[in-house]
């Protein structure tokens, strides 16, 4: 019988990106004993990849900005499917959370009068993104990490969680294994915060790292929690397309914020060709006005390159399909052209976009200060996730909280750039605070189901029983990524998604036969075999939710239902586990928005 190393905490945080660390800091500050379990080394989580900035209505650059504008922008971007309470709290609390980061040592770029500088980004009416060049995520995670290690939290690095443990319907901990030795662990806790990030590894072309296998979503689903908005997967419009081996790596929206433009192979700025009605009034209709906007002219309207990500991704897709793409199947993103407008443009680009400069120089032999980049859509972000209460971040399972990308609600049908870093700190803080409170009042007397523990461990070890003769887990993962990319990607149809469901069912059978040679010590093949189960759950949830939503809205584009449907605009889709283990998908009405928030939305239209 496998042995378990046992630990006990008040609050267990699973995931150590921005949301997990912020939750852990908050819970520890309120006196809770906090354990953090993370899949990688501390400070390597996907937050480091965030480039452009953190959205907060600080109004440092444009004093017309305030929480109401930020709230309205977020709701408009999310096509009004957002949890309005989260959008409200987010807009109100983000400025304080940014100032908090500064108080903990973060060094944002400055305005001339020494305040935090803010930049333009898609869908944000005013310059709103506090940033550090194009490495804002690194600044954020390092700040939280360096602050957090002195807060008393205990960090279990390189551990994967296999299952949440329940007692009478309440979550009482989690069990999993460490990578280094392959030993099993039990983390008992009075409250658990899931901050495991997204699901990008379900797709072939993605900006996400190997960790992003939807573990938190699958754990919550199996524990009986509800998921929502699973159909909304954000395809970031600009990922690298060449060389093939770096396909999908992110090219920050900051390039467009600094004046970069999109052109097709005919040299045409195709983004002017189609501007959605909801954005017509605030979008420039000529190149010259768009340029002035990027250079801080308060009276200019934004260029169409800075429309929301769902729209830009679809326009790029359209150009490529129409045969107006680049040699490697993307479109051109040109920042070098600004030299016709700016003196010392080369230095300017290198200072504002240092990692992009290096990324292209080193990986593609291309100097972005001289030549245009080739870019195309890449799977980037999961708007959906665990359904939570807007104030406390608690899921439908008592004691189980979620924050950051793993939680759903804030972004609705499409996330605005910059709103995810602020999401992490605003709702990480809330989840940490409410989890600690929950732990205080719901502490003692939990029983651990030892049988479940043993069953989980023996299930996890099965790939070793099958050995090298079993299915190659890497190949199963690859086939799943290919299926999701081809059949449940940017453009979706009923027929293709039905095929995807069949493929997923077949891949499930193959995953059940996955085998691996060798032993448990740092065995990447074993880890891959275990990740498959989460990937399959989220892939099925995405597909089923996308099938049910028979309309196109935000990140979901159905070729067979290309228009918006007013009725669907009033509903979320909920995914949960049925009594017999089958996946249930249902339509649920949005809660009514209070009049004062309705008034804000109307006023900003």
């Amino acid at each position: 019988m496998p042995e378990f190393q046992r630990f006990s905490y008040d609050v267990l945080v699973i995931g150590a990106g921005g949301a997990g660390l912020r939750a852990a800091i908050e819970a520890a500050a309120s006196g809770a004993r906090v354990g953090v379990v993370c899949k990688s080394l501390l400070g390597k989580a996907h937050t480091v990849m965030a480039e452009g900035g953190i959205a907060a209505a600080l109004a440092n650059v444009d004093d017309r900005d305030n929480w109401r504008v930020h709230f309205a922008d977020t709701m408009r971007g999310g096509q009004y499917l957002n949890n309005w309470r989260m959008a409200e709290l987010h807009a109100k609390e983000a400025p304080d959370c940014v100032r908090e980061l500064e108080a903990w040592g973060a060094l944002f770029d400055r305005t001339k009068d020494g305040r935090i500088l803010q930049r333009n980004f898609g869908g944000h009416q005013y310059p709103r993104l506090a940033h550090v060049g194009d490495r804002t995520g690194l600044e954020m995670i390092r700040t939280l990490q360096d602050h957090g290690i002195h807060s008393g939290m205990q960090v279990h690095m390189e551990c994967t969680v296999l299952s949440l443990l329940l007692d009478s319907g309440r979550v009482v901990g989690a069990c999993g294994y460490d990578r280094e030795k392959g030993l099993f662990h039990l983390w008992q806790a009075k409250a658990v915060v899931l901050a495991t990030g997204g699901i990008g590894r379900a797709y072939k072309i993605t900006s996400n790292s190997w960790e992003y296998t939807g573990d938190g979503l699958a754990l919550a689903y199996h524990a009986g929690a509800e998921l929502q908005e699973m159909e909304f997967v954000q395809f970031h419009p600009t990922g690298m397309v060449w060389p093939i081996s770096v396909r999908g790596i992110l090219v920050t929206e900051g390039v467009r914020g600094e004046g970069g433009v999109l052109r097709n192979s005919e040299g045409r700025r195709f983004m002017f060709d189609e501007i959605p009605d909801a954005y017509k009034a605030q979008t420039a209709d000529n190149e010259e006005e768009g340029w002035r906007y990027t250079q801080g002219d308060r009276n200019a309207r934004r260029p169409p390159e800075l429309l929301t990500r769902d729209h830009v991704a679809r326009c790029i897709n359209r150009e490529v399909k129409a045969g107006r793409g680049t040699p490697h199947g993307g479109v051109f993103l040109d920042i070098a052209w600004i030299k016709t407008h700016l003196p010392k443009a080369e230095e300017h680009i290198k200072r504002k976009l240092p990692s992009m400069y290096h990324q292209f120089k080193q990986l593609a032999d291309l100097d972005i200060t001289k030549e245009p980049m080739e870019v195309g859509p890449t799977t980037h972000y999961m708007m959906g996730g665990i359904r939570v209460d807007g104030d406390s971040q608690m899921s439908s399972v008592p004691g189980l909280f979620a924050a950051g990308e793993a939680a759903a609600g804030l972004h609705g049908a499409n996330r605005l750039g910059g709103n995810s870093l602020s999401d992490l700190v605003v709702f990480g803080r809330r989840a940490g605070r409410f989890a600690a409170e929950f732990a205080k009042s719901n502490g003692n007397g939990a029983t651990i189901d030892e049988e479940q523990l043993q069953a989980t461990a023996s299930q996890a070890l099965k790939p070793f029983d099958r050995g090298a003769t079993g299915e190659n887990p890497y190949q199963v993962q690859y086939d799943l990524q290919e299926a999701m990319q081809d059949l449940v990607g940017i453009v979706r149809t009923e027929n293709e998604m039905q095929q995807a469901l069949e493929k997923i069912a077949g891949l499930q059978l193959r995953a059940d036969r996955a085998g691996i040679a060798g032993h448990r010590q740092y065995n990447n093949g074993w880890h891959t075999a275990i990740d498959l189960s989460s990937l399959l759950v989220v892939s099925e949830a995405i597909t089923r939710a996308a099938l049910l939503r028979k309309e196109s809205r935000g990140a979901q584009f159905r070729e067979d239902f290309p228009g918006k449907d007013a009725e669907w605009g009033k509903h979320n889709i909920i995914v949960k586990r049925g009594a017999n283990g089958e996946m249930l998908v249902e339509k649920r009405a949005l809660p009514p928005m209070p009049d004062e928030l309705k008034a804000v939305v109307q006023e900003m239209k």
Binding site: K44, M49, G105, L107, D113, I149, S209, Q521, N523, W526
Partner: protein, 245 residues
């Protein structure tokens, strides 16, 4: 461009190991990490390695490639001689866990011994500060660090002399520099630098700066200014003279 290449990868654990050869197809634009992934997926499923972002931003895939400390994700095959086997080893300074994965936990423990950030009181009643971009930029260079620990790997004080108990190494000296030169910080780490962190062990061979994938000027911009602070405080001959008088 050649269509296949030989990778000679160290396989083993703390008890020992050996090099094994893997021949794998290669294409234009590939980096070392791509080739290793392909070997893992097709020939050696239990090959151990760390990686996350695959874009040079997380600092996980550090290894020694043909004897040079590098990130596997940022080393293009076109910059290597593929007529010869490409030799891949784990970082030598840290204890090996398995294959290309080493135990870097010492870095995290050593960081804990450094006094944390302590800001001065806010400049304004609303709790905010004012800083100039020029002052911020000096520290931003240090904060680019992705904690890949390649500088620690190449530092002879750690690699050859294993002074881990006394010396914090270039990465953490850069960390101290970022704190000491932070416009808001009010903590004093100069005494610790001399006694607890043994900055004197560094004799500025600049190996760390040469391997930094973020091109941080570790020695000139971080370590030397810190050494100057220590010298000013403890070894100023005039001050010592006054002290004697």
């Amino acid at each position: 461009m050649v269509t296949q290449a030989m990778f000679r990868i160290w396989r083993g654990d703390s008890a020992g190991g050996r090099f094994e050869d893997y021949l794998t197809p290669v294409e234009e634009g590939m980096v070392v990490l791509d080739a290793v992934h392909r070997i893992q997926a097709q020939q050696a499923p239990d090959l151990a390695l760390r990686w996350n972002c695959k874009a040079g931003k997380c600092g996980s895939c550090s290894a020694e490639i043909n004897g040079m400390p590098k990130l596997m994700c940022m080393t293009r095959l076109s910059n290597l001689n593929l007529e010869m086997p490409v030799i891949l080893e784990p970082m030598h300074t840290f204890p090996v866990i398995r294959d290309l994965v080493t135990d870097v936990s010492w870095n995290f423990r050593a960081k804990m011994t450094i006094k944390p950030f302590r800001p001065r009181s806010p400049d304004l009643p609303d709790g905010t500060w004012r800083m100039q971009q020029a002052d911020v930029e000096r520290v931003q260079e240090f904060r680019k660090c992705i904690e890949c620990f390649l500088c620690q790997d190449v530092c002879h004080v750690l690699r050859e002399h294993h002074k881990e108990e006394e010396f914090i190494g270039p990465r953490l000296l850069v960390y101290v520099a970022a704190l000491e030169m932070h416009p808001l910080d009010s903590e004093d780490r100069v005494s610790d630098l001399r006694k607890k962190h043994s900055i004197g062990y560094c004799n500025i061979t600049t190996c760390c700066r040469q391997v930094c994938p973020e091109s941080i000027t570790i020695t000139e911009n971080a370590i030397i200014p810190l050494k100057e602070r220590v010298v000013d405080r403890f070894f100023d001959p005039l001050k010592q003279l006054f002290h004697i008088l």
